[in-house]
């Protein structure tokens, strides 16, 4: 096909340069059909669909700046005496890793700015992934066929946490060294294998002389490599599934309404990349992050107050800070529950959100494909669950910073810790109930708007003295948007007798499922949306409300 085109154009004279280049490339790569199929791929337009883009671009920024940093960083724990340009460290003994980070900060051209862009972009990357994940969660975008992609995204978040953690530990400063010690403590708390894992990871007793070099290869090669692969897979699946869209006039489960990838989205996305890069550089230019020169080199005999990890590990820190220091001594072995239980909770807490799509589809029995997003209010139980999860997460973040909270709000650190302990259990319950009520209230309001129109704020006085407020009817599109969502019926336990009238055994899981499904879609959990009959009945007698 491509050869045909080129002969034709040659007969008409020389083809334009762009066409010749494309032709040359297609002859060797065979990308024409792939490009043709995808160039006009449609993407819907909504600001919240750009959250993922923020993550992608932050990831690219981190890779670009990270490459620059590797040119100057020495991943070695050899002890050296500092003689660089930062006066308050002159003559101090420190590891080469710390000394080279000081050098990057003070003696390498642009080093400090690049370091700060790298670190700020990491903070933003993880925060962006968190918010992106919440967007996907609350709009139900994780439903079939996108469960695998949800898991890819989740893995990216978790790997991002550990990549961030290993990177934060590389400079071998007093703060990150304390964090590594904390992690080693958590590893040690694992029964039976903990000590072996610790000895293996650190090449002997903590801190040893190996961990910076090991964390370095994990931080710059292993984890980013896996993440890059996952990012590509994540994007391929987005292409394959096509992007979800909010309900609206002309939008169905079978189409995508929006702009084509080329040229509109290519231009927008390219421009947005530079906006993200520029904005991150601006932040890095005005605000200091991880000023390691203030922290000093790591020595296991020193520690500072206010020793926290970066925010994405903060909830793990909170779990440990809030946990009472329980300990069991058993046959000469110590089981440190005060650290081990938080470690288990850390895994469980993340696993719940990762597995949620499968849990929901099991409960609701919904195996259909969904390409139209839910408005969070129209799935009150899911929304309430998500808010409960976020509440627990945020309370643990407070727990992780309990000392800073205490000093800055003039509180007792013990009171903050108790608040966190109680809040971790009570907060999600309260959040669940409140969120569900709010969602139902919003559903009622939607129903009201559809049936009675929008409150216009215009007060009319009727001839007989009655005052009424004029309600403006909604437009066709608005009404469609408000009524487009499906309302499910709770899944029921099938007939308890088979065709022969023999009673079959109802499994416990079936009963549980029916109960949960009732909680999701029962009368308590959704407001029946207005029907055509209701609408006609009300609009026929217009003016009476």
């Amino acid at each position: 096909m491509s050869t045909n085109t080129s002969t034709e154009s040659r007969s008409r004279g020389k083809a334009p340069a762009g066409e010749r280049v494309a032709d040359w490339a297609d002859g060797r790569l065979g990308i024409y059909s792939l490009a043709k199929a995808n160039m006009r791929k449609i993407f819907p337009d909504h600001w919240s669909f750009m959250l993922g883009e923020i993550c992608l671009y932050s990831f690219l920024i981190i890779i670009l700046t990270g490459v620059y940093l590797t040119l100057f960083f020495h991943p070695s724990m050899n002890e050296v005496e500092y003689h660089g340009s930062y006066i308050p460290m002159q003559g101090q003994l420190m590891s080469e890793a710390y000394a080279s980070t000081l050098e990057i900060s003070f003696d390498v051209r642009g080093g400090l700015l690049i370091r700060q862009i790298h670190h700020w972009a990491a903070v933003i990357f993880l925060a962006g992934m968190f918010v992106h994940m919440m967007r996907v969660f609350f709009t139900g975008a994780f439903r079939k066929p996108r469960e695998i992609n949800w898991l890819f995204g989740f893995l990216l978040f978790v790997l991002g946490m550990f990549t961030g953690f290993t990177g934060y530990s590389l400079p071998d400063d007093l703060l990150s060294g304390t964090g590594v010690r904390f992690t080693q403590g958590a590893i040690l708390s694992v029964p039976i294998v903990g000590t072996y894992i610790s000895m293996f990871l650190f090449g002997g007793e903590f801190p040893g002389t190996d961990f910076v070099a090991r964390f370095y290869s994990i931080h710059i090669l292993l984890l980013p490599g896996i993440m890059l692969g996952l990012v590509v897979a994540h994007l391929i699946l987005v292409f394959y599934h096509k992007h979800t869209q909010f309900a609206g006039a002309g939008r169905t489960n079978k189409n995508v309404v929006g702009m084509p990838l080329l040229p509109v989205y290519m231009a927008k996305a390219g421009g947005f990349f530079f906006l993200v890069f520029g904005f991150t550089a601006l932040i890095a230019g005005i605000a200091s992050i991880n000023p390691i020169w203030n922290l000093g080199p790591y020595r296991p005999d020193m520690v500072s107050t206010g020793a926290q990890p970066d925010w994405y590990m903060g909830f793990a820190e909170g779990l440990v800070r809030a946990m009472p220091g329980w300990e069991i001594n058993f046959w000469g072995h110590t089981l440190v529950l005060g650290v081990f239980i938080p470690l288990v909770l850390f895994g469980l807490f993340l696993a719940i959100i990762a597995l949620y799509p499968f849990i929901e589809s099991w409960i609701t029995g919904d195996k259909r494909e969904h390409h139209i997003l839910d408005r969070p209010r129209n799935a009150p139980t899911r929304t309430a669950f998500g808010v409960a999860w976020v509440t627990a997460y945020m309370i643990m973040l407070i727990g992780g910073g309990n000392d800073i909270v205490a000093t800055h709000f003039n509180l007792s650190i013990n009171a903050v810790t108790w608040f966190v302990r109680i809040g971790f259990f009570a907060g999600p319950v309260v959040a669940f109930i409140v969120t569900k009520r709010i969602c139902l209230g919003l559903q009622r309001r939607d129903k009201d708007k559809v049936l009675h129109g929008r409150e216009s704020g215009i007060i009319k006085r009727l001839p007989h003295g009655e005052f009424i407020e004029v309600h403006e009817p909604l437009s066709q599109e608005q009404m469609y948007t408000l009524t487009a969502h499906e309302q499910y019926k709770p899944a029921e336990i099938g007939p308890t007798v088979d065709e022969n009238g023999v009673k079959r055994k109802v499994k416990g899981s079936e009963k549980l499922r029916a109960k949960l499904s009732e909680a999701y879609y029962g009368e308590e959990s959704q407001i029946p949306k207005p029907t055509v009959e209701e609408y006609k009945e009300i609009t026929s007698g217009h003016g009476h409300h």
Partner: protein, 270 residues
């Protein structure tokens, strides 16, 4: 001697003896005169103590007892030394509003330095304790900043944070921020160990080491210290950085995303 004894009955001998005696008296007077001045100093000192006692009776006795022996509301001040008084009153911690708070905060100083010296003299007179350090002792001149940093991280940072930004202790107590604290007061705090702070007498931490720490704090935590990376965000580490990253970093980027999404080629603006 013979010559002298031969002339002992000379008519002028009495005169010579008289002159010698006068010279001797004068000399003795000259020798004793400074002693008289010292006595005057002592009088001044006792006057200072007297003044200090008056101030004490008005401002301090209700909690610390009429003779500084302490009550249920305040500890005994016998033997705390002048340095402790200069620190507590000089930073405004004393007199305290209440003895019931978890910790007594620093506030505006209400006594003049002269009055503080009088109070200090009175308390010092109750029992021996550390004296107010001289400027030579606490001035950061000739100190090793890097050594001070190491000492600070080893001895102070676990409560006061890496650069002395302060930190939380149990039950509402806290290690205060050391930003722009007078070097004299830092020295006195190390010497006397106010409130929850352990004391670092010269036997534990030498005078030179105290100077090093003061020099380090002056370098990293005063109005003269620089922040090469831009805004410090309180110097509190990842908590404030995370908050900033979420609100201004991601918040700003979301604002940019909303802005971009609002500028699209739509058939109809909604």
């Amino acid at each position: 001697m013979k010559k002298l004894s031969a002339r002992r009955r000379h008519p002028l001998a009495a005169l010579v003896v008289l002159l010698l005696a006068l010279a001797c008296t004068g000399g003795l007077y000259a020798v004793f005169a400074p002693a008289d001045k010292a006595q005057a100093d002592e009088t001044a000192q006792s006057l200072t103590i007297e003044e200090g006692k008056k101030l004490y009776t008005v401002g301090c006795a209700s909690c610390h007892g009429t003779g500084g022996q302490g009550t249920s509301d305040g500890p005994s001040l016998v033997g705390v030394g002048a340095a402790a008084v200069d620190f507590q009153v000089g930073t405004g911690r004393m007199p305290a509003h209440t003895s019931q708070a978890a910790q007594i905060p620093d506030k505006r100083t209400i006594y003049s330095q002269a009055e503080i010296d009088q109070l200090a003299a009175y308390i010092a007179s109750l029992g021996a304790g550390p004296a107010i350090p001289t400027e030579e002792q606490y001035s950061p001149e000739g100190a090793d900043i890097a050594k001070g940093g190491e000492l600070f991280r080893n001895n102070c940072a676990q409560c006061h944070n890496f650069t002395g930004k302060g930190g939380a202790l149990t039950h509402g107590k806290y290690a205060p921020s050391l930003e722009d604290v007078d070097p004299k007061h830092i020295y006195e705090a190390m010497l006397t160990g106010p409130q929850n702070m352990p004391s670092f007498p010269d036997s534990t931490m030498s005078e030179q080491n105290k100077k090093d720490i003061i020099a380090y704090l002056g370098e990293v935590n005063s109005d003269k210290s620089e922040s090469p990376g831009g805004m410090e965000l309180g110097g509190l580490g990842p908590v404030s950085e995370g908050l900033f990253g979420w609100i201004f970093g991601l918040g700003g980027l979301i604002a940019v995303a909303v802005w971009v999404a609002a500028r699209t080629a739509k058939a109809k603006k909604s």
